[in-house]
């Protein structure tokens, strides 16, 4: 018995140490990547409180005082607040339209049986392959003809269409996993399809609505290409187009650029921190069932 007892702890300890080393290595790698995602953000926020000269000469030092000069410039001279409002209105509207129309279409795909459903699915998947480049010229022409170019609708309409397909597929994937018993109960209650949709499906599908809206919002809010073409006038310009403008016009004012980036990024990040669970959950649902 003696030998066994003396050997056993040694083996254990050896294993334990090896296990630990590899774990330390894993934490090191993960932390290193985390640094690449955190430090640039810190750097940019930090520098937004410095005057340009300090950003240029010493961008690593911590800002000793919160110099708000860049922020005043951003709001007074380049009117970043207006662009904010523009972005929120246009991207917010696109989200709402996508959720309503996409939700209804997803409900049909998830619950109705009809001829041509398979074809419809294939068509939707194929639609995902159409990039904005392949539609931009005729859409631009259409917007000019209808007088909607450089108005809020000039971005809302193309963005709604551009994000519908993705949203429909993800939402239909989620809805088709909802147990049928739930609607049978509603059916017995005498609900029609419309009531079933908003009484049963909308409440249950909240997680997928949440994640779809987040992605539609992000893609819309962040889309520079369409913004440059459809809404690049000062009164309707969304924030990404303004950023592009700043880089070409105020490219030497590093402090102002840092501030503009901070103002674009930080609100989105804060919202993200509150709802990150939904995003990842939504991606999960979409990927699993889509």
């Amino acid at each position: 018995m003696e030998p066994t007892i003396s050997v056993e702890p040694n083996v254990r300890r050896g294993e334990y140490r090896r296990f630990k080393l590899s774990t330390v290595f894993i934490y090191l790698v993960l932390t290193a990547w985390a640094m690449t995602t955190i430090y640039p953000l810190f750097w940019i926020v930090n520098n937004s409180f410095k005057v340009s000269r300090d950003v240029m000469n010493n961008s690593f030092s911590i800002a000793k005082e919160f110099n708000m000069i860049n922020y005043t410039t951003a709001f007074d001279r380049i009117n970043i607040g207006k662009s904010y409002v523009n972005s929120l209105i246009m991207s917010g509207s696109a989200v709402i339209l996508v959720l309503i129309f996409g939700g209804l279409a997803a409900y049909v795909l998830a619950r109705f049986n009809f001829a041509g459903k398979k074809v419809l699915y294939s068509l939707l998947y194929a639609t995902l392959l159409i990039p904005a480049f392949a539609t931009v010229v005729p859409v631009y022409e259409l917007l000019i003809k209808t007088g909607t170019v450089n108005t809020y609708w000039g971005l809302i309409l193309p963005h709604t269409a551009g994000n519908l397909t993705f949203a429909i597929l993800v939402m239909a994937g989620y809805m088709s996993t909802i147990p049928k018993e739930l609607e049978e109960a509603a059916f017995i209650d005498g609900s029609n399809r419309w009531q079933m949709f908003y009484k049963v499906f909308v409440p249950i599908s909240r997680p997928v609505f949440a994640s779809a809206s987040i992605f539609v919002f992000l893609w819309s809010y962040n889309d520079l290409f369409s913004a440059l073409i459809f809404v690049n006038k000062e009164n309707v310009r969304p924030i990404v187009a303004l950023l592009n403008e700043i880089s070409s016009q105020y490219g030497t004012d590093f402090g102002l650029m840092a501030t503009a980036i901070t103002l674009t990024v930080i609100p989105v990040l804060i919202v993200y921190l509150f709802i990150s669970k939904y995003i990842q959950q939504g991606l999960t649902e979409g990927a699993v069932k889509g």
């Binding site: 639609t127 709604t160 990404v240």
Partner: protein, 285 residues
């Protein structure tokens, strides 16, 4: 259910209308326009295959295609690669998982334009962060955006932007693998590396395929990184920026549309090719 046809029509109609007016119709119109020589919207002349013949003799387009392919290579190797490595690694730890998942996703929620501007501040010759670091070490400053470096300089933020996205997709795929598979592997005494290459990766192969397809089609859409950081100069022009310049800056709608059609076909071919190369039996569990 009675009256279903009415509801099917009613519920599908708004989406169908949107997609038709702003996606399908413009797509076919682009195809149509690609056979015309245009001056603005009002003056156009049918020229047959001229625009497409021009595609094959356009040296700038050839260069943009090669740059896009190079960018795609970086994206597939590093973006998908790093995402996969991070996903495999994070499965091996028990603490701080949520923290890493949350911060890895940071760049994804930031706009590409803001990231690009950030990198403009990094790359600036006189005052940028990188040359600041070099100066601190007494090394001579580098032109980060010159002929030899520009495309790579654009590739870094492009790759960095979406690692977190694919990371989450991989994690999701891995979470679907039943725990008893790993239990069996553990009982067999299979090590971590072998478990990853022999078990995890084959089991999530269909998801890897999806990610690779997304990465390929995603790279073809790259626009803001190039536009903001280099404007496509010094050998960093990609298809997206070239199409924008031809169609929107030069207002050459016909040729611009031909480029767009070329991009769609190119993308579909690449995606099909990738799927063919990665063809495996689908695994269900």
């Amino acid at each position: 259910m009675k009256g279903d046809r009415k509801y099917i029509f009613m519920f599908l109609f708004p989406s169908a209308l949107f997609l038709t007016v702003f996606l399908y119709y413009p797509f076919f119109k682009s195809f149509y326009l690609s056979f015309y020589r245009t001056k603005g919207f009002f003056d156009k002349k049918f020229v047959g295959w001229d625009n497409f013949e021009r595609l094959f003799t356009d040296k700038l387009l050839g260069a943009a295609t090669l740059h896009t392919l190079e960018l795609m290579l970086y994206v597939l190797l590093f973006q998908v690669g790093i995402a996969l490595v991070l996903a495999v690694l994070i499965e091996g730890i028990s603490r701080f998982k949520d923290f890493y998942r949350t911060v890895f996703f940071f760049p994804v929620v930031i706009s590409g334009t803001a990231i690009s501007l950030l990198f403009v501040l990094f790359y600036n010759y006189n005052f940028g962060l990188l040359n600041n670091i070099l100066a601190n070490f007494g090394i001579e400053k580098i032109f980060w955006l010159d002929e030899g470096n520009a495309l790579k300089a654009v590739a870094i933020p492009t790759v960095w932007h979406y690692v977190g996205f694919y990371f989450i997709l991989f994690l999701t795929a891995m979470s679907k693998i039943p725990a008893d598979y790993y239990e069996a592997a553990r009982l067999e005494g299979i090590g971590a590396i072998k478990r990853t290459t022999m078990l995890t990766i084959p089991l999530i192969m269909s998801d890897i395929k999806v990610v690779i397809t997304l990465a390929i089609t995603g790279t073809l859409k790259v626009f803001e990184f190039v536009w903001v950081i280099t404007s496509g100069q010094n050998g960093s022009e990609v298809l997206g920026t070239y199409m924008y310049k031809k169609a929107m800056v030069d207002q050459n709608f016909g040729y611009g549309s031909a480029i767009a059609i070329y991009m769609v076909i190119f993308g579909v071919l690449l995606a099909l090719l990738a799927n063919r190369l990665l063809k495996r039996d689908e695994i269900t569990y």
